[in-house]
């Protein structure tokens, strides 16, 4: 008789839903989440106005100052051409964030369109689309992105497109499932009986309500997009060399691993921390959104 342990449901007063929401809003922020959030804020500042944070020009060469260890002049040392690593990392934040957000936005858009089409389309459309999605999901993201790169060529925007393409299936799947739930909801039927057209019902009720869980998934997957983008840059398929970009810095660093391991560790750590911070904050958002009824 385990059901007896359920708290008595008949009790809450009229104000309780709001009270519950207030409580969840007030819920204490975990220290790890706070740290991740601070890191993300720094990252955004670095992406918007890198010159505020960066001590030096990220592209300024200084042949006699190459491979300097971390020290007063260069907090994180210098690379093989004497460029300041810290400045390059800070300037690298912008392409990284653009890639993460851009690829995610693109993937969400594509996934929503596909999922919606599958959700409201007939049996044939849905079957075809979802089998394709299944196939795409069976291939690792990075591999899928590599296939796209081989088709469209290298370059910053192509990497963004490839990374987006690889995560479309995730979004398509969740949107389709949500559309199926929402289109059977009573409020959708109620809108139909009012005499709204099919497209108006979809635009006003089905789509907005189907997208709710997507927001949370997207915040978490920004991290994956960043990691995938950095991987492609690491392979030399992204932004061409002189520009400061974490993935290509990593790939340069690996050549000098024996005499200057710091050149490898710094961009690696930057990528890791960014992905980690995005994921931690994303999960916290999900945790908070789950407590709510709507």
């Amino acid at each position: 008789m385990t059901a007896l342990d359920v708290p008595v449901a008949a009790v809450p007063t009229a104000t309780s839903p709001t009270a519950r929401r207030r409580r969840s809003r007030r819920r204490a922020i975990r220290p790890g989440v706070a740290l991740a959030a601070v890191f993300l804020v720094l990252l955004v500042v670095a992406a918007l106005v890198p010159e505020w944070l960066a001590p030096q020009d990220p592209l300024a060469l200084s042949p006699d100052g190459a491979f300097l260890p971390p020290g007063p002049g260069h907090l994180l040392g210098t690379d093989q051409t004497g460029r300041d690593v810290l400045s390059r990392i800070i300037h690298g934040a912008r392409p990284t964030l653009i890639l993460g957000l851009g690829a995610t936005a693109l993937a969400v858009t594509g996934g929503t369109l596909l999922g919606l089409l599958a959700g409201i389309g007939g049996r044939f459309v849905e079957g075809t689309l979802m089998r394709l999605v299944d196939v795409a999901l069976a291939v690792p993201d990075l591999l899928l992105a590599l296939v796209v790169i081989t088709l469209v060529g290298t370059g910053t925007s192509n990497v963004l497109f490839a990374v987006a393409f690889a995560s479309v299936p995730y979004y398509a799947r969740i949107v389709r499932a949500q559309v199926h739930v929402v289109r059977r909801a009573t409020y959708v039927e109620a809108a139909t009986t009012l005499g709204l057209s099919r497209s108006a019902v979809i635009a006003r009720h089905v789509l907005p309500n189907a997208l709710k869980p997507l927001v949370v998934l997207a915040t978490i997957r920004i991290g994956d997009a960043i990691a995938n983008g950095a991987s492609l840059s690491f392979l030399g398929l992204g932004t061409p060399p002189p520009a400061a970009e974490w993935g290509s810095m990593l790939s340069t660093g690996i050549q000098y691993i024996s005499n200057d391991w710091f050149m490898l560790a710094v961009p690696g750590l930057a990528i890791t921390l960014t992905v980690l911070a995005v994921t931690v904050v994303g999960r916290d958002l999900r945790r908070r959104s789950e407590g709510r009824a709507s």
């Binding site: 342990d5 008595v8 008949a10 009790v11 009573t186 109620a190 009986t193 009012l194 005499g195």
Partner: protein, 550 residues
């Protein structure tokens, strides 16, 4: 009764500082059945749970005296409590589906208290389980004991739950809303079963929102409101000669005994029609019958089940609905009444048969054509909350319905929205509220306002008051009657509740297994039912007074 079975003195229960039960006292004598009656939030369920020490987390229970069968329960440790619970106090929970473990056959559920509280061997337990199931009227108990809850009907599940509660022959049996989720005829059977379980030295506590249900079982009734007992006394006295205003209001709110045209709620709820309210009266003045609005002929619908078998859900249903009239469709769950309504609404296509609106074909229209006409047929659902987009405020909900009939945006639409809200007894203060933050009755009012917005000729009401407390139900039924009077709108009113149907309908359709078994004027159906099923249905309705013909 010198030595009552249970004595409760000054019971108080708080949840997070909110007092839910505020100092109530009562006794249950040996061989007596006490009913605790009240609406949702009155504290009746919490009271019954606190008697078995299961008030849930966050609850603070205080009681001056809690004696059961000569023992002081306040002094019991958790360990000793477990020996009382299930063995000497049996508890029948409300919702049989969620209270039974879905992963266990019901036989094991019933055997559990036996294993805990008796020394019976496994085979003896199995024998006893079969005996118990047989004693609560479960047919083929050997087979049923091996079945899972989802394989059983609601009535059988409730019986299984009762069997597990009485497995150890408890002295006190507590039943929390034991028949609420059941169909009328099944409810009557379960009530009859509970009646047979009353013994000469044991006691019973029945918790219910339904006065008529407890009238049949209880020797004494305690009426609860806002955590206190407002009136307590012998059943005949409480029902026949209520002392407290609230009890009187509760009794008056029961629709079963009142024909159409009488008010149920004490206070009139609808405000006067606002000045310039001409748009809504366009559809006719009052109740002058001006021909048939809806005409259904031979409606038939079947669905393909998950097992690949095609089942006919509605078969050859015909009726007409006159303007400004109400047609009640009554039937038990699965009788096809909702599917019939959905075909009339045009959200479900009939396999055969036709629906005509003012003599013009309706069911056979193409999508686009029908969309233009949809506003003429509106709907109110049982659960209004799920019929609103969760992101929408009241203003947007009603505004959308106004937009459909081409009402211009801006101040005019807002004024009209307020006007509609006032028509259903709400005011402009609700514009920015979300339905989630409103009570069940308020939500249903918003749903009615939305249904009225496109100025329909017919409103399909699908169990519109089934989820509401009896006093709120009375207000909503009165509101619907007022609106019909003023606007001349016709209702297709679906309910499983014969009392409600009797109160609202001009004509009644009795459905069973997808077919109409009887149709006719309300008075005729209720006074001279022709079909055996109608008679069975009428006989199954619990009555307040044995003499009243529902």
């Amino acid at each position: 009764m010198a030595d009552p079975l249970l004595t409760v003195q000054n019971l108080r229960v708080d949840f997070d500082g909110v007092t839910v039960v505020d100092g109530i006292s009562f006794t249950i004598g040996r061989g007596e059945c006490l009913a605790l009656v009240g609406e949702s939030g009155s504290g009746k369920s919490v009271t019954s749970r606190s008697l078995v020490g299961l008030t849930g987390t966050g609850a603070r229970v205080q009681v001056d005296r809690l004696d059961f069968d000569g023992e002081d329960l306040t002094r019991l440790s958790q360990r000793r409590w477990r020996r009382v619970r299930g063995a000497r106090i049996g508890f029948v929970l409300q919702d049989a589906l969620s209270s039974l473990d879905g992963l266990r056959p019901i036989g094991r559920e019933v055997a559990e208290p036996l294993a805990l509280h008796t020394r019976l061997t496994r085979t003896a337990r199995q024998r006893r389980v079969v005996e118990l199931l047989a004693s609560v009227g479960v047919p083929e108990p050997e087979v049923r004991a091996r079945q899972y809850p989802y394989q059983l009907s609601g009535g059988l599940r409730q019986r299984a739950l009762i069997a597990s509660a009485i497995a150890c022959a408890p002295r006190l049996l507590i039943a929390d809303e034991p028949t609420t989720a059941l169909d009328a005829t099944v409810q009557a059977q379960v009530l009859a079963l509970l009646e047979t379980l009353k013994t000469s030295d044991g006691g019973m506590l029945v918790v219910s929102h339904d006065l008529a249900v407890v009238a049949r079982l209880a020797d004494r009734i305690a009426v609860m409101r806002d955590g206190v007992i407002v009136e307590q006394g012998p059943t005949a006295q409480v029902l026949g000669d209520p002392r407290h205003d609230y009890t009187r209001a509760l009794l008056a709110a029961v629709p079963g005994t009142r024909p159409k045209g009488t008010r149920l709620s004490a206070v009139p709820v609808a405000s006067e029609p606002a000045a310039g309210d001409t748009a809504t009266s366009a559809s006719g003045d009052g109740r002058s019958p001006a021909g048939d609005v809806v005409e259904a002929r031979g409606l038939t619908k079947s669905f393909l089940g998950p097992d690949g078998v095609r089942r006919t859900v509605v078969s050859d249903v015909s009726f007409t609905l006159g303007q400004g009239r109400t047609l009640g469709i009554v039937g038990e769950s699965g009788s096809g009444k909702t599917t019939t309504a959905r075909m009339v609404l045009g959200v479900e296509q009939p396999d055969a048969g036709e629906v005509r609106l003012h003599g013009r074909d309706w069911a056979g229209l193409g999508q686009a054509e029908r969309r233009r006409e949809r506003r003429r047929l509106q709907v109110i659902y049982q659960d209004p909350l799920s019929s609103f987009d969760p992101r929408y405020t009241v203003e947007r909900v009603i505004g959308e319905a106004l937009g459909v009939i081409g009402h211009p945006r801006g101040a005019a639409r807002r004024d009209r929205t307020v006007e509609l809200l006032e028509q259903v007894g709400l005011d402009a203060g609700y514009l920015g509220r979300r339905p989630l933050e409103m009570s069940g009755g308020q939500r249903q009012r918003v749903a009615i306002a939305r249904a009225l917005a496109p100025e329909p000729e017919v409103i399909v009401c699908d169990e519109p008051v089934s989820a509401l407390d009896v006093s709120v139900q009375a207000q909503v039924l009165d509101l619907l009657a007022d609106l019909q009077q003023r606007l001349g709108v016709s209702y297709l009113f679906i309910s499983h509740d014969l009392g409600v149907i009797h109160h609202v309908s001009d004509q009644v359709l009795v459905m069973k297994d997808g077919s109409v078994v009887e149709a006719g004027d309300t008075a005729q159906i209720f006074e001279r039912p022709q079909h055996a099923y109608t008679r069975a249905l009428l006989a199954a309705v619990p009555r307040l007074h044995p003499t009243s013909s529902i």
